[in-house]
């Protein structure tokens, strides 16, 4: 399988601190892959590299055959790399529908003048955008909340709204940063099906950062493990489960040796 988004030999240094050290990583087309590791392993830093928020000290990020390492975040997003946030970052005082429509910014063509004049082309475009936003809210299962303020939604609905908003970018890759944080086991298992639906129905490749091992093992086709900025393992869920270095990273040396 060819890869849609790949990071090659990424190194990130903050001052003297090496946050990510020479990590290479692929997201195969229409694949579901996970990035795991203990706290402080550099997962979110790596995410921020992929979305252009940080620039790597060295290394390249390739998306759909093009180098995007130096692009500004909004261009990377518009090109089709969408993300959600570990701590939900919705536009609180905007409605759910408006939140989704913000992410359509790069697809819409309306200019200042056409908006003020309310030209037919602009109105048509707005109507289509409204419909698309509603369809996306239905897709993630919160169609009823379209007119509610994002900050008034329940926690679970906010998580779903973040996904709907990311999907409005019409992405080819979706990066989910700890999407099940704060969910109970039942909600988490619903989420696993949801991730599969996004991939199967929208044809989007997915990368997850996740702490819930049950979710990771169930949903991922491939797992990459980071520890202290280094890639220590990569493989199928079964391989990762059996990998002594991974067990060591998570549970400490003594336990790893005992197995």
């Amino acid at each position: 399988m060819s890869s849609i988004l790949s990071a090659e030999n990424i190194t990130v240094e903050f001052g003297g601190l090496v946050a990510v050290n020479d990590v290479s990583f692929d997201i195969p087309e229409k694949g579901i892959v996970s990035l795991i590791g203990p706290n402080g392993a550099g997962k979110t830093t790596f995410f921020n590299i992929l979305t252009g928020l940080y620039k790597p000290t060295s290394g390249h990020v390739m998306y759909d055959g093009q180098e995007i390492t130096a692009l500004v975040p909004h261009k990377i997003a518009a090109a089709g790399v969408a993300r959600t946030f570990q701590n939900i970052r919705l536009f609180g005082s905007m409605t759910a529908e408006e939140n989704v429509m913000v992410a359509m910014h790069s697809h819409l063509k309306a200019s200042l003048a056409t908006t003020i004049l309310g030209l037919p082309s602009q109105r048509r475009e707005e109507r289509a955008a409204h419909e698309e936003a509603r369809a996306l809210l239905e897709f993630v299962g919160i169609g009823k909340t379209a007119g509610e303020f994002a900050r008034n939604l329940s926690y679970g609905d906010q998580r779903r709204l973040e996904v709907a908003r990311a999907l409005a970018l019409r992405p080819k890759v979706l990066l989910l940063d700890e999407p099940t944080a704060g969910m109970n086991p039942q909600e988490s298992s619903v989420f696993v099906d949801f991730v599969h639906r996004i991939r199967d129905e929208k044809g989007i490749s997915i990368l997850l950062i996740e702490h819930d091992m049950a979710v990771v093992m169930k949903v991922s086709e491939r797992i990459t493990v980071l520890d202290r900025g280094e890639k220590i393992a990569e493989g199928s869920p079964a391989e990762i489960k059996a990998n002594p270095r991974v067990i060591e990273a998570y549970l400490g040396k003594g336990v790893g040796a005992g197995h």
């Binding site: 509603r134 379209a146 509610e148």
Partner: protein, 392 residues
């Protein structure tokens, strides 16, 4: 699915219906005020007339509308895009001086007339009020972009500082602009006056045609409302609000930060320019010392007091504070002094009052008199209930 589509349709209608209700009521009130002052005022008893002269003179009403125009412009920058601008007076000054340059005998070396009602023999540049308005808006907008381009990269606190400086520098340039390499840019502290009368429908509006000016100012304020609402409802308005809410998340959703912020700043400056030109026709002249820091702060207070981001709230805030500033405080002070035989200079306390209002608002009613959210809640009430009972 079908149900939610239906609901959405209703909601949309309700929202625009609420805007229409506001627009119609305000227009009716304005027309009533106009009709009253134009046709009935002279026929009312002297007591009523003198009451109005003390508490609500026509010139204060007109001045309030000028403030409304500017406050709506600042609302785009502060209320929509969340960029704290403490130097809005600079754009007001640009607009005012544009009117000074192109609607008076100031440039007496030349004799250019275009669409103006003033006599052809008078030297100077005399352009039509409407044309000057556009030029003022373009000049202010142009400087808005020039100043915004480097400064909008700054984080909010620093942006506030830079705009603060800018709001001090521009009026200083005009105050001292009497002799810039031998060129008289602004006539210094003497100012430029008089400004040409506005010509409308072949009628020449002198300093005392307050009724007509009221209609013109009201028309311009209405245009500002229309433009604000249109932009707010579209692609750009959503991007502005998103930046106000969470800049980083907005950029991650494909919103180009610099360009979007710059547009907000330019549109705000544009309206500031219009406001400045209108103000020049209202006071019939340009005086450098009037363009001071307090104007920026009063405008900001209007936006905050009314409810950031909500045009109707900002209008109410602007009318209220403009009235207090121009008439309310002196009138209350005189009444108080006469009743209690004191000699307190009330108008000198207006900044204490405005500062106090701002602090109290921040403490007790941070969203302003008419917050945007509240208004929406009201117009969505039924839908929210439906969603709450049916959902979670």
């Amino acid at each position: 699915m079908a149900i939610s589509f239906l609901k959405r349709g209703e909601k949309k209608q309700k929202q625009s219906a609420s805007a229409r209700k506001w627009a119609i009521s305000l227009t009716l009130i304005a027309l009533a005020i106009w009709a009253f002052f134009t046709y009935f005022f002279d026929k009312t008893p002297d007591a009523v007339q003198s009451w109005f002269q003390v508490w609500l003179p026509p010139s204060t009403i007109n001045e309030s509308l000028v403030w409304v125009i500017c406050a709506l412009g600042l609302n785009i920058v502060v209320g929509y895009a969340g960029l704290l601008d403490l130097g809005f007076v600079a754009f007001w000054a640009f607009g005012g001086y544009t009117a000074g340059w192109f609607m008076s005998g100031f440039f007496h070396q030349v004799n250019i007339h275009f669409g103006s009602m003033s006599a052809k023999v008078i030297p100077g540049i005399h352009l039509s009020f409407w044309l000057v308005m556009i030029i003022a808006a373009l000049i202010a907008g142009f400087f808005g972009i020039i100043i915004g381009a480097p400064t909008l990269r700054l984080k909010s606190d620093y942006l506030a500082l830079v705009t603060l400086g800018f709001g001090e520098i521009i009026p200083q340039v005009f105050t001292n602009g009497e002799n810039i390499g031998g060129f008289n840019l602004s006539n210094g502290t003497k100012g430029i006056s008089p400004i040409d009368a506005i010509g409308v429908f072949g009628k020449r509006l002198g300093p005392f045609d307050l009724g007509w000016k009221f209609l013109i100012y009201f028309f311009l304020a209405a245009c500002m409302v229309f433009v604000s609402l249109r932009i707010r409802g579209g692609r750009l308005g959503r991007a502005w609000l998103a930046i106000r809410e969470d800049e980083l998340a907005a950029s991650m959703m494909g919103v180009p930060l610099m360009r979007t912020k710059l547009t907000a700043y330019a549109v705000g400056a544009f309206s500031g320019g219009i406001g400045g030109a209108v103000y020049a026709t209202h006071v019939n002249g340009i005086f450098a010392e009037r363009f001071n820091f307090s104007i920026s702060i009063i405008l900001l207070a209007m936006v905050v007091l009314g409810g950031m981001g909500n045009v109707w709230g900002v209008i109410i805030g602007a009318l209220l504070m403009a009235w207090i500033n121009a008439t309310g405080l002196p009138a209350i002070g005189d009444t108080f002094n006469n009743t209690f035989h004191t000699a307190i200079n009330f108008p000198s306390y207006n900044f204490l009052l405005f500062g106090g209002i701002l602090v109290l608002m921040m403490l007790f009613k941070r969203d302003g008199i008419l917050p945007e959210a509240r208004l929406k809640m009201i117009s969505h009430e039924n839908d929210d209930e439906a969603a709450n009972t049916g959902g979670h």
